[in-house]
Amino acid sequence: MRSIHLNLHLSQSSGVPPYLQIVSQVKQLIASGRLSVDQELPAIRVLAEKLLINPNTVARAYRELEAAGWLYTKRGAGSFVAAGTTSFSAETCRRQIKERVRSLLTEAGHMNISTKDLIKLIREMDDAASKGE
């Protein structure tokens, strides 16, 4: 399978080391099924140039993922998604989303945005996103 673009977003202000941000985001992508077994990840230097981060940071993240069994490497070929990594169950996905929605509702409450307006906003953004594709 061909290697794909990894859509990662790194925050410099969170205090979380960038390599850990990559690790958790790649895990999310694998667990949610957006990355499938045997799929190739971008080469270290390619991802480093794309994210404008030090290649050692990417290498460290790939090493951690490999040590934890999420990736395997073929010598001279690259890094691939390992088989047998548990993808999240439907229940886990739902629980994760519920947590996010809960904090979103709290935040909206603080800003005096009603749930009705929030739902409207989500619909609008969803429409815009699907038109954009």
Partner: protein
């Protein structure tokens, strides 16, 4: 090239201006293939250090060696392997971009004219435009092309992003990454844009008042800087705690800023009867502010 020799080896370097030490017994070694970030408040000694590396200053005390050579005694050999961009580059404004690149190329035996042309093309400006007609961001980007076209083993950037737009800043970061993904090449980046330093550097040198306050891998810098909130009724001798470099007190509540093994430190605090209220990692920016001597005065006023 010999990978065993550090690319830069500075031993006990001291430099005084009018009796005041701008560099005070600085000892550092840079291995090849890394991106070194130099941070520190204005006047901390960053530019003075860089001028020694480029051979523009002679070491008054101590020694400076670049690629295993003294840059003052062998400027041609050293400078031909360095690419350099400063905050306020002194470009000939009357030259066109094309003329300027030709002119720069004449200095370097390893100048790659087609690579230079490719780099200039990415800047997206008419090469027949005069340097003086370019924006500050465009000038910096052209300067960066000139600093890279001989594929230097060491790229030295002294506050390159100051006052530049995001496009030019990203271009600089891209150049840093490009340099280091090619085997064995190194970058020295002095900057006060700490987000950028955190992003691209793998080793951090923290200067303060001419001294090296911290020289650590970026990983360690990000993983070991913590702010811990504790409650303790007994007096707290925080100076004796390993790794704690700053503490503020509000009644029985303390904020401890540390660079330490966090598990070890919190255990020690618990043994002394402290209750840990909160602990969180510091970003590079927060760690810098907590460590900078000048900021203490400001925070006390505020």
């Amino acid at each position: 090239m010999d990978r065993q020799i550090p690319i830069i080896d500075i031993q006990h370097l001291t430099r005084r201006f009018n009796g005041k030490a701008a560099l005070d017994d600085v000892t550092i070694q840079f291995p090849r293939g890394h991106v070194f970030g130099i941070v520190g408040e204005n006047g901390a000694g960053k530019t003075t250090l860089i001028k020694h590396i480029l051979g523009l200053y002679r070491a008054q005390q101590g020694s400076v060696s670049v690629f295993g050579m003294d840059p003052v005694r062998r400027p041609k050999e050293v400078l031909s392997r360095i690419g350099y961009l400063s905050e306020q580059p002194d470009f000939p404004e009357w030259m066109t971009i094309a003329q300027f690149m030709n002119y720069m190329g004449a200095f370097y035996a390893k100048w790659d004219a087609s690579y230079a042309a490719k780099l200039v093309e990415e800047v997206n400006v008419d090469p027949h435009k005069k340097i003086g007609e370019l924006s500050k961001g465009q000038q910096a980007r052209v300067g960066l092309c000139a600093a890279q076209a001989h594929r230097p083993e060491l790229l030295v950037l002294d506050e390159p992003s100051s006052g530049l737009d995001p496009v030019a800043r990203n271009e600089i970061l891209a150049a840093v990454i490009r340099t280091v993904v090619e085997d064995g090449r190194s970058v020295l980046l002095s900057s006060h844009l700490l987000d950028e330093v955190q992003q691209v550097c793998d080793h951090l040198l923290f200067f303060s008042q001419g001294k090296v306050l911290l020289s650590e891998s970026m990983e360690a810098v990000l993983e070991k800087h913590y702010q811990i909130s504790v409650r303790i009724s007994a007096p707290l001798a925080w100076q004796a705690l390993p790794g704690v470099f700053k503490a503020t007190q509000d009644g029985t509540e303390w904020q401890l800023f540390c660079f330490a093994d966090i598990a070890q430190l919190t255990n020690l605090l618990k043994q002394q009867g402290a209750q840990i209220l909160d602990q969180r990692r510091l970003s590079l920016n927060e760690a810098f502010l907590a460590r900078s001597p000048q900021r203490h005065i400001l925070s006390e006023v505020a």
